[in-house]
Symmetry: C2
Subunit: 369 residues, 2 copies
């Protein structure tokens, strides 16, 4: 993710993610409630982690939803101030994440909850844990709740066999025209990674603890009939446009692939069942446009095609720029994403581009023990 708080940062371009977090707020509340209702007495300190928190304000938005819920439960149950649980939050992301920028949001966050909840606000303790969630991050049996939004579709690496044999020539990701073994290689890497994630968490979570994951997925089992590949097929076209101008080499496109996988919900289910530590309470999909403002049911809906193209481009740029810079250099970035914004508009206007590229999966699991 692009750090800082500039115009192209993740912090400034994460409305897609924020929309999904807001839409799934009821499920988050329900999960927290069920944990408190099934636990008597309440935990003295409720410990949770946000896996793949990135550097924007969304991570704190999730904490505030959880605090709201715990606060409400305590009010309903007439729990006195000194007996309300403390909340310890671990914000996790890779070591290269811009934690400095994330921390800069904390003072205002504390001020807001102090205004809203008075003394109780002093019972929230935020920390950061740098490292990959595909391995161990926390001591054994130390956390009650794991949350993750828009992170677990990022693989730990590009599938090995795929990279070595350049089997997906001319694409940045699985494309609808990719040969079958490309899809298989991606799925295999996702299976390995998601299994490792579950196995690590199963050691770290307390008995009866819960997890809630949201990730980008696809709506059909066969990736060739899904819209999930579309945004990166379009981006590939933009990269190819830069070849005649000498800004990009075709070989560089061939050797670049995104460590990303958009699973179907049945694939997710299969891995959870195979790993065996967790049972699934709920597994749902929702659809959100890559520019959530491009939706008549959205109260901020403004139909402006140029704006929509730019928003979609900014969204994709904020989450992929660092990878493109490290492979292609930073000279092409402005041009590439300007083209992407334009192409997105054109396609949307004349070819009926699928607007719902964000198939979001919500997976709610309970630790089995």
């Amino acid at each position: 993710m692009k750090g800082g708080d500039g115009a192209n940062s993740y912090a400034s371009n994460s409305i897609f993610q924020e929309t999904a977090i807001m839409k799934t707020k009821p499920i988050l509340e329900e999960t927290i409630r069920s944990m408190f209702i099934n636990t008597s007495p309440m935990p003295i300190c409720f410990r949770m982690a946000d896996l793949g928190c990135s550097s924007g304000p969304n991570a704190l938005l999730v904490i505030s939803h959880i605090m709201d819920t715990i606060y409400q439960i305590c009010e309903e149950e007439n729990v006195t101030h000194d007996r309300t649980p403390e909340l310890q939050v671990f914000l996790n992301d890779l070591i290269g994440n811009d934690f400095n920028s994330l921390f800069n949001f904390i003072p205002n966050f504390y001020k807001k909850i102090e205004n809203a909840k008075g003394e109780w606000s002093s019972r929230c303790f935020i920390s950061a844990v740098p490292g990959s969630f595909y391995g161990r991050l926390f001591p054994s049996k130390s956390l009650h709740f794991f949350y993750s939004a828009f992170s677990t579709h990022w693989l730990s690496k590009v599938p090995d066999c795929y990279l070595n044999n350049l089997m997906n020539k001319g694409n940045l990701y699985m494309a609808r025209t990719s040969p079958r073994h490309v899809f298989e290689a991606y799925l295999k890497q996702f299976e390995t990674d998601f299994f490792n994630l579950l196995r690590s968490r199963s050691t770290e979570i307390v008995c009866g603890g819960r997890m809630m994951f949201m990730m980008i997925g696809r709506n059909t089992l066969d990736p060739r009939t899904s819209d999930c590949c579309y945004p990166y097929e379009l981006l590939t076209k933009c990269l190819f446009e830069l070849i005649p101008e000498g800004l990009v080499q075709e070989a560089d496109i061939d050797s670049f692939d995104l460590p990303y996988y958009t699973p179907h919900k049945e694939e997710v289910k299969k891995i959870v069942e195979m790993e065996g530590s967790f049972s699934i309470d709920k597994l749902e999909t929702i659809e959100i446009n890559l520019d959530p403002r491009d939706d008549v049911s959205n109260k901020d809906f403004v139909f402006d095609e140029l704006e929509v193209g730019k928003n979609v481009s900014n969204c994709i740029r904020a989450v992929t720029e660092a990878m493109f810079v490290s492979h292609f250099g930073d000279a092409i970035i402005e041009d590439l994403f300007a083209r992407y914004a334009k192409l997105n508009n054109k396609k949307r206007k004349f070819e009926g581009i699928p607007r719902c590229n964000g198939q979001v999966k919500r997976l709610k699991t309970t630790m089995v023990c």
Copy 2:
């Protein structure tokens, strides 16, 4: 502290602090040993915090000393791998600290301990907690051990009364010529801050938990007869040299004061006793030159006056630059500290500058409960 890993960063100029950490390693070991020997069975997870960790590698050096000690105890006691305690470390500093740079040291740190200790290395979990240690940082009764090196001599703010009345005209800090009420105002702020620190930790530490603090102090109760003010008296002289050149205004020097206090050990003792949550096991002072290489008993001793002046200047610059930049702007910094290096050499040669400006206090306390 100056972030990053550049030539003027704290990470590259913290040999003074590193020397003190190495000299006090036996006390740290003794503290950890006494905790494990008095606790049966061993804790499943040993939780500790480094308060004011800054952004350099010293924080990880302390963790590696603690891991060494726990590992040795477990070997001596024939504790099997799966029963050795996990270690959860919270690195704390102010929100503005460069945590990104600090995190960049972690992968190499993990590699080193993996090479040295094999599988056991996977039992150490590092996290960061941004915020002031003069307030609450952790859930109640959640930590076994608090460590702090070179942080608690930094006050939460410049003493109020002192700032408002500009009572310390022409100085950056307490100077040997300062009027008595300046010393009193500084001491009062230190008392308030250190009391708040102890009170916050007393809520967060487990029963029987321990703390070990190292801070810069002074060797006499009367600050006017101590060397502690000397480094900043010299720096003030350098600032005054810039006035005729129009680079600094005298009024700006008058209105600038460092939020810093070098207590005498009796002052520290009094506050611990007054607060009442902790008993003191050990309270000692050691002397270290601001350039620790300027010491014939040091194996790296090289007698080079120019080098010594530069090292002392770099050491002071790394910990104060951000404050000078925010008050005087960054244009004067190079010039100021180049002058400081030169003046330090000159004074040392012709006037017998006190070399031991680092009176370091080691305070080891046990939680009383």
